[in-house]
Symmetry: C2
Subunit: 249 residues, 2 copies
């Protein structure tokens, strides 16, 4: 018998047809598909541990997970082998060996998300799966000011859906930028971690600022209130993509 080694995977997926990352009884999940494909490939029962439990419908270019295995397959080749057994809406981008004790939720990291808003009069069918269609006028400069005021270390309780198990609601947002490319508006957020639905509530709030229902100056008051009802609605899942996670060494 070989010693167990710990393998880290970087995983991309189109979340459209999944009930999110975490295994549940009411439908297919990314975690479940990975466990099935890895168990079949390696001939051992595999249970991956994910870095980020993305919601139903959220996409990823680089979520991270680890698992332990006795396999002799070189760590760097596992990504190619497991992809052959995965559905086409999930693809492992990288695989490598890490220290046996390394846990992706128990170390410092920076997570980056992008939320894409398609701002035009009529929907575009080719972008319906990965953008949120919004036809009203948006004041991008006001959204930029509001986004800037969300940066920093704050108690983000106002930006957290109920049902969260988080002990503390303090998080650090390193940057929150608004990028535009024609009719595509991208909200790019990096932080030490995010509460349940936090990025989607930040975006829902920025849309209220863009449409003039809130002013950028309202943001500090909304944060300070520590009350979910003061922030905007939770923007739809399909506009959100986890871009990647970088870990401190």
């Amino acid at each position: 018998m070989n010693d167990k080694k710990r393998i880290k995977l970087v995983v991309a997926y189109d979340g459209t047809n999944y009930c999110g990352w975490q295994i549940q009884t009411n439908g297919p999940t990314i975690e479940e598909e990975l466990n099935k494909a890895l168990t079949h490939l390696l001939g051992e029962e595999i249970h991956v541990i994910g870095a980020s439990r993305t919601d139903a419908g959220v996409h990823s270019l680089g979520n991270v997970c680890v698992f332990d295995t006795e396999t002799n397959i070189p760590a760097e080749k596992i990504c190619y082998a497991v992809n052959m057994g995965l559905p086409e809406d999930i693809a492992v981008q990288e695989s490598c060996e890490v220290d046996p004790g390394w846990h992706p939720r128990k170390c410092e990291s920076t997570k980056t998300y992008e939320y894409r808003i398609l701002n035009r009069p009529i929907p575009l069918p080719t972008r319906r799966a990965d953008t949120y269609f919004y036809y009203g006028d948006l004041d991008i400069e006001a959204m930029r000011k509001a986004a800037k005021l969300m940066e920093g270390t704050h108690d983000f309780a106002s930006f957290c859906s109920s049902g969260s198990a988080a002990e503390s609601t303090v998080r650090t947002v390193y940057s929150c930028e608004i990028l535009t490319d024609g009719d595509l508006i991208t909200v790019r957020v990096s932080g030490s971690g995010f509460l349940y639905n936090m990025v989607r509530i930040m975006v829902g709030t920025l849309l209220l600022v863009g449409s003039g229902q809130l002013a950028p100056e309202d943001i500090p008051r909304i944060i300070e209130a520590r009350d979910r009802s003061g922030a905007g609605p939770t923007a739809p899942a399909k506009g959100l993509t986890m871009i990647g996670i970088s870990f401190e060494k």
Copy 2:
């Protein structure tokens, strides 16, 4: 009874779930969905006439069609009204009135297509519907030279699938450019018109150049041969998007 007026539509679609533009017996088509939605909306039997009969799986941002109607709905509002009755993978972008005799296949026009190649080691699930995944190394400069040699007025019989009903195989390619953005390679082609599968065969041939199986200098010989077997394979439909059509006044 009102006089009949002719309406022009600009139509965007995700072609993934369709057997192409033109009505056929073996599955749903864009033309059929438009006829159904317009007939239902206007209470008259509508048959659209399309500018370009895109293949199964090909996408569009701006295909064009016309139809005749007695409706009192202002021409510019028809796009919003018909979209409510269309599936979410088809959306009319614009509607306007044109001269009663105007026919989108019987006037001079410039058609623009883009073919997207995702050139990286591992597929990306979020781009699987609108790009062709190609993992081998590609020599972009060689592809650019070859693309340049495809421009101009030529007999493109070598770039036409059998089964075409075209009387002449002479066409003018105004431009054929290779654009890159990270791991995305876009072949952008504009021309007076294209033969059956012509853009996809041009791309299949450019990929042979990119991979070193053909040299850019082979292109004039391939064109001159007027023989389909000399050109490359037909690249998969899903990488192709009709960008739009501009008509001479």
